[in-house]
């Protein structure tokens, strides 16, 4: 056991897999000498050499497209894209090839590759550095989309992602890269993809969230409990394939759901979760499931971000409204 931040836990997962498996290579912009702009890959090039951990030219389509080539020819590439807003130059490779090569080749080729990138707001950043594009990737069939909320989960989920033969989009909530410290086992372990986790039991309202907003939800839950509302908190952990069972069980119990996520609310993970509750628990619903999500606007720069970022208070407000419906 060591106390780790999420940055350290991810670094540790990469370290373990690089050591264990020669087929693993790690590359992207500034991941080598620099160790990544968030230092997630720090020290790895020194340890494993420039052939296994290296800087690529500045071209995201190239980073992802070459990773596909490596994945069909015996490697397990893990690529870092520098920020969520810079994943779009690679969108065509992801949507047209990475997600489709297994199906296109009728399983002749598998796609053991991971596309990692930091995402989300709350760090007073410039444009393109505060977005939450999980719905875009979750809508593309053939991908798995994973988002951890703690150092422990980050390590276990990333190890599963690296070991998966399917392509995994691994989104890292940059706001909590260093904000949470946790005891994390030093040895290897993995957590299953596609499984959500109930991280707080409750009976009145189900709150579904993931990534950095789990923390905010926990604060909101404290407020709710003070107000006498018992909240069940589900950490989705995998956005696709989504864990219907955990959602179903919880919402059938509570009859109420609030989805908390930072992405633009229209055509989002919130929309999908509401659809799922309708399909899985319609007769149990006692109030309309609610989305507490980002506006359908560009994430504002630092001065305006206060309005966009979802506060515990706003979550509580919606929990209470849903409870009192």
């Amino acid at each position: 056991m060591s106390v780790m931040t999420m940055v350290k836990a991810i670094n540790n997962a990469l370290d373990i897999k690089l050591k264990e498996d020669d087929a693993v290579v790690v590359y992207g912009e500034d991941v080598g000498v620099e160790g990544g702009v968030f230092r997630v890959t720090e020290g790895l090039q020194k340890k494993y050499g420039v052939e296994r951990v290296f800087d690529s030219p500045l071209a995201e389509s190239g980073i992802v497209g070459t990773a596909l080539g490596m994945a069909v020819s015996g490697l397990r590439p893990i690529v870092e894209l520098q920020f969520e807003g810079f994943t779009y130059p690679a969108f065509n490779q992801i949507a047209s090839n990475v997600s489709r090569m297994q199906n296109r080749s009728r399983g002749k080729y598998t796609m053991p590759m991971v596309i990692r990138f930091p995402y989300g707001g709350g760090i007073n950043a410039l444009e393109h550095h505060s977005d939450s594009p999980e719905a875009l990737y979750a809508h593309i069939p053939g991908l798995k989309v994973v988002i951890p909320s703690t150092p422990y989960d980050a390590k276990g989920l990333l190890i599963s992602a690296i070991e998966s033969n399917d392509p995994v989009v691994f989104m890292e909530p940059k706001r909590i890269y260093r904000a949470i410290k946790q005891e994390v086992p030093d040895e290897k372990y993995s957590l299953p993809l596609g499984k959500a986790k109930v991280i707080h039991d409750g009976s009145d309202v189900t709150v579904v969230a993931f990534g950095a907003l789990i923390r905010e939800c926990q604060k909101a839950i404290a407020m709710a409990e003070e107000a006498g509302i018992s909240v069940e908190l589900i950490d989705l952990r995998t956005i696709y394939p989504i864990d219907r069972e955990t959602i179903r069980n919880s919402v059938r119990k509570t009859g109420r759901m609030v989805v908390v996520a930072e992405a633009h609310e229209s055509f989002s993970v919130g929309s999908e979760l509401i659809a799922i509750t309708n399909e899985e628990a319609f007769l149990y619903l006692e109030a309309p499931p609610r989305r507490v999500m980002g506006f359908d606007t560009i994430v504002p720069l630092a001065q305006g971000e206060q309005y966009f970022i979802i506060s515990p208070e706003r979550i509580f407000y919606e929990i209470e409204k849903t409870f009192n419906f």
Partner: protein, 369 residues
């Protein structure tokens, strides 16, 4: 600019001077003895036969499509010398990363016409090229495949394997950002990739001169610091030597190579396309005079090694190809599981649910009848 350790043809045919590497003329005369490869007769005869096979298969495919027995098809007419010359240099362990207009090379890799037909009949099993070792499926999203080739190049270099990678793109494809990115990565990583631009002078309806102001396409290699050469794509011998040189260069660890194979798309873009809308019949006729099969045949005749009974061979190929088509056409087996089965290495619950809901609908439908 031109490095000293480059193979001689790259130095002698510098694309910056807009030279084109050619060995025989339209009449089959050798016009450049210096580089003329010495191939034994059987090799040449065999090459001609392969080109002929591709030609016949192509023509038959077009006619099957016209008969309404197959969906849109992409002809290769006029580009056979490139495909067969490349195929002769891609070994079992080498990688082929195709675009969508290099059938002869796919066949050389072990793909069957039955598979090609299946693909154009709308069955994914045709496009997976199951039995062709180290061959990727056809790439439709133009340009993207070059990155895959570069990535494979990294892989084989990293794994110290004796494998080269051959990849293809059209003249139009050079306008896509991925083209430049991939050549640039390949240059930086110094990977064993042979990039071929099949410059057939058309991008569906748009002539290549509307694609770029560069003097030719081989010259684009300069932007990525890799050797490039423009080759007469309708000259089998020139293509043969170009691939021989390029493969040796790549396998020697010196890095990637760019070949512009200058040719002409004798047919339509696809069977849905009508070239009379955008180009003159005379142009087609004129380029017909450079037909790679005809040029090779004339060479062989002059050399006295022409012993092929074309009619007989054609008949034989036709029967063979027809058999493969019928095989493919009769294959109507496409259970609905095919839609779901290959999306993930293991089917996620959500897909299982969608599949079973669909099955409920199917049985409702069954019962309704």
């Amino acid at each position: 600019m031109i490095q000293n350790d480059l193979p001689a043809i790259f130095r002698d045919y510098n694309p910056l001077e807009d030279k084109m590497f050619s060995l025989i003329d339209n009449d089959g005369h050798v016009i450049n003895q210096k580089y003329m490869p010495t191939l034994d007769d059987d090799t040449v005869i065999n090459a001609y036969k392969q080109m002929h096979y591709e030609r016949i298969a192509d023509e038959m495919a077009i006619s099957f499509q016209r008969q309404g027995r197959m969906y849109t098809y992409t002809p290769n007419l006029g580009q056979e010398a490139i495909h067969i010359a490349a195929g002769m240099h891609i070994r079992e362990q080498d990688w082929l990363v195709p675009a969508f207009r290099e059938m002869g090379t796919l066949l050389a890799k072990g793909v069957t016409m039955k598979e090609m037909f299946l693909f154009y009949l709308g069955n994914e099993h045709g496009g997976s090229f199951k039995n062709a070792n180290h061959t990727l499926p056809i790439a439709i999203s133009i340009g993207t495949q070059l990155h895959h080739a570069t990535g494979i190049g990294y892989s084989v270099k990293y794994q110290k394997k004796d494998e080269a990678v051959f990849t293809f793109i059209g003249d139009g494809g050079t306008s896509e950002g991925d083209f430049s990115e991939a050549l640039n990565f390949a240059g930086v990583w110094q990977v064993p990739v042979v990039f071929t631009i099949q410059n057939n002078q058309y991008v569906i309806s748009v002539p290549v001169k509307s694609q770029t102001k560069s003097v030719n396409l081989a010259v684009k290699s300069v932007a990525f610091g890799i050797p490039g050469i423009k080759v007469d794509g309708n000259d089998f011998f020139a293509m043969y030597l170009a691939y021989k040189t390029a493969a040796e260069y790549a396998l020697s660890g010196k890095g990637p190579v760019l070949i512009e194979a200058f040719t002409y798309r004798l047919g339509a873009h696809t069977t849905s396309d009508d070239p009379t809308k955008y180009r003159k019949k005379e142009e087609e006729t004129e380029w017909g005079l450079t037909d790679p099969l005809m040029r090779l045949r004339r060479y062989m005749e002059k050399k006295g090694i022409w012993n092929i009974d074309v009619e007989k061979l054609t008949e034989e190929y036709k029967q063979q190809i027809n058999g493969q088509f019928l095989d493919a056409e009769q294959n109507k087996h496409y259970p609905h599981n095919e839609v779901f089965a290959y999306m993930y290495s293991e089917m996620p619950d959500d897909l299982k649910r969608q599949k079973s809901e669909y099955e409920q609908f199917l049985s409702w439908k069954e019962n309704r009848r």
